[in-house]
Amino acid sequence: MIATIFNIPFLAVAALVGIALYIIISQRNLIKLVMGIVILEAGVNLFLITLGYREAGIAPIYTNAPEGVMVLPVPQALTLTSIVIGVAITALMLSMIMLTHRHTGSIDAEKSRRMKG
């Protein structure tokens, strides 16, 4: 049970990802769909960053570093990459939604839809 209590950050990740997937599946508004994807991204990023934490660790920077064990640097780099990728995808998705709205006057996934399946 003790392990479960200490794994609360990972449960938070599960909650975030679950909420995000629920939004993605249930919402028809395209902007809300993008919000769902952004939350999903946040969940995955949180997962990556929590992977690297070490008990009582300090930031992995030697400039005037205090004594102590350092947290893992690689997950931080991966998270950085994944954040930038998220920004790029979000920007592109929102641009496409703006243009779809211009064409069809709607941001409802069903209404602005012209092709079937």
Partner: protein
């Protein structure tokens, strides 16, 4: 020359990337120079890929450690695991590399004329080069996170290109669907990478494969990876985006999106064979892949029959054909743990499935390009509005016949060669699967006969009386693929022996892939 071979894994990725960064600058000066640079970069890369392939068949797996003090220093001195990003090119990677190089070159040449009337050509070629970079990177990388990064490059550029003709609302919808699916699947894959990293503190595929335990967490990671890549390659439960995206993309890009799907399929195979290999329950995973393949095959072809939009029809056939590749390789995966069955029919099934990948890339690419040529001259994709075009567009109709016969698996075309390999070997695994596959092939033939009749034969419609043949560069683009198809049809055994068998063996034998990085063996 040795230096060129040594550095060619990175050069194949970096040269189109450099060209992509240069393209926006050069476009300000001259459009002609830009076109020359784009084509030259792609041609040079295709040349390098063939060069590298030859060396791989002779000397085995190539590794390239980025940023180390020597290109083959996979593990730092006095240490036990790889730290840096490693490019690892084996016969399967270069197989996908050759496909990507050929199709993107053909698509770029084709687009010279096809996109002439469009605005924003500088952006178009930049994105096309970036898409090529994504394919090569995905094929060559030996690192899980790097694979994710290149998958994202591939999907972002693909989505932007699919939505290129922004004046059509359909194009935006196709692009949007593609990017949403890609974003969700990529995040699932990233989550799985996180799980693997959490357990082993490794990101290198070969290093992970060596220490793979197949714990419950690994199973979860495997499930997420399979769902993610299945989503991305457009297999059946999650195939809805494929026709919408393929149909609206410019023709050259539709051809490249086919390869992009195959790149995801490559990643799926890489995960199943090289990362998990025999540690996992290959029979279960293999059957999952087989069932997905059958569903994909069948649903794709049945949905294709009622289509009147020529590119949607082809897109559904693209889904259906992916089923063959999944079926062939799935059978190989199912018997991976059983050396006897693997030797008698598993290896043959894998060779069939892998041969089908290259065949499909070529003929489906060709078919999409001919559909684009029809659209270019008639302005419609609706088969009911076309008719009698064969009279004026002779080359295009010949190319269409070649592609259609190849996809339907009519002898002696290459589609028949690969399908025969799949039928024969799958029959020995489970006869019913083989029968379904043949049935699907017959329906495909019927569907394409119908399409050919409505577009090319019959009396010429009055509004298309003055239709001309497609412009030269489009013919060259189609011609490249058509010549390759004819060559493959004439010498199937040569192709199977030189490039397909090493690729299949590279997947089956996990050890060389691991040893190239981890040493030993």
């Amino acid at each position: 020359m040795d230096a060129l071979i040594t550095h060619s894994p990175i050069l194949i990725i970096a040269i189109p990337l450099l060209a992509a960064f240069l393209t926006p600058l050069i476009s300000r000066v001259s459009d002609t120079v830009r076109n020359i640079i784009v084509i030259a970069a792609l041609a040079f890369v295709a040349f390098l890929a063939i060069f590298l392939a030859r060396d791989i068949y002779l000397n085995g797996v190539h590794v390239y450690v980025l940023g180390a003090s020597a290109f083959n220093l996979t593990i730092p001195e006095l240490y036990t695991v790889p730290v840096r990003i490693i490019l690892e090119v084996d016969a399967m990677s270069i197989f996908l590399g050759i496909i990507a190089a050929t199709v993107s070159l053909a698509a770029a040449i084709y687009s010279l004329s096809f996109m002439k009337q469009e605005t924003g050509k500088a952006k178009f070629y930049t994105l096309l080069l970036l898409m090529t970079v994504g394919m090569f990177g995905l094929a060559f990388t030996g690192d899980m996170f790097n694979l994710f990064v290149f998958l994202e490059i591939l999907s972002i550029s693909g989505a932007a290109l699919a939505a290129f003709r922004t004046r059509f609302a359909d194009a935006l919808e196709g692009g949007l669907k593609y990017i949403i699916i890609s974003a969700i699947s990529a995040l699932m894959i990233l989550f799985a990478i996180g799980i693997l990293y959490a357990q082993y503190n490794l990101l290198n595929i070969a290093a992970l494969a060596q220490v793979m335990q197949y714990t419950t967490l690994d199973k979860i990671a495997l499930a997420l990876l399979v769902i993610g890549f299945i989503m991305k390659l457009g297999a059946v439960p999650l195939h809805m985006w494929v026709p919408d995206t393929y149909a609206v993309a410019p023709a050259g890009i539709s051809a490249m999106l086919v390869v992009s799907s195959q790149a995801s399929m490559y990643a799926l195979y890489r995960i199943c064979f090289s990362l998990f290999g025999v540690t996992m329950n290959t029979l279960t995973v293999g059957w999952i892949v087989i069932i997905l393949g059958l569903l994909t095959m069948f649903v794709g072809v049945t949905m294709a029959i009622p289509q009147t939009d020529i590119k949607r029809l082809m897109a559904y056939h693209a889904i259906s054909q992916s089923g063959y590749m999944l079926l062939g390789v799935g059978v190989g995966l199912a018997v991976l743990g059983n050396p006897e069955a693997l030797a008698t029919y598993g290896r043959e099934a894998m060779r069939g499935g892998i041969f089908h990948i290259i065949n499909h890339a070529m003929y489906k690419g060709l078919l999409f390009l001919t559909a684009g040529a029809l659209f270019y001259r008639t302005g419609t994709r609706d088969l009911n509005k076309m008719g009698g075009l064969g009279r004026n567009m002779k080359f295009t109709s010949i190319f269409f016949i070649i592609g259609a016969l190849a996809i339907s698996g009519v002898p002696p075309f290459n589609g028949f060669a690969s399908k025969l390999m799949i039928y024969e070997s799958v029959y020995r695994f489970n006869p019913i699967l083989s029968v379904i596959a043949m049935l699907v092939s017959v329906i495909t033939l019927a569907s394409f006969t119908k399409a050919f009749q409505s577009a090319f034969t019959g009396p010429p419609l009055p509004q298309y009386k003055d239709v001309k043949e497609a412009p030269k560069s489009m013919l060259i683009g189609m011609g490249i693929l058509a010549v390759i198809i004819v060559f493959f049809s004439l010498f199937p055994s040569l192709i199977v022996n030189t490039i397909v068998t090493p690729a299949a063996d590279a997947l089956i034998n996990q050890a060389p892939y691991i040893n190239a990085v981890m040493g030993g063996g």
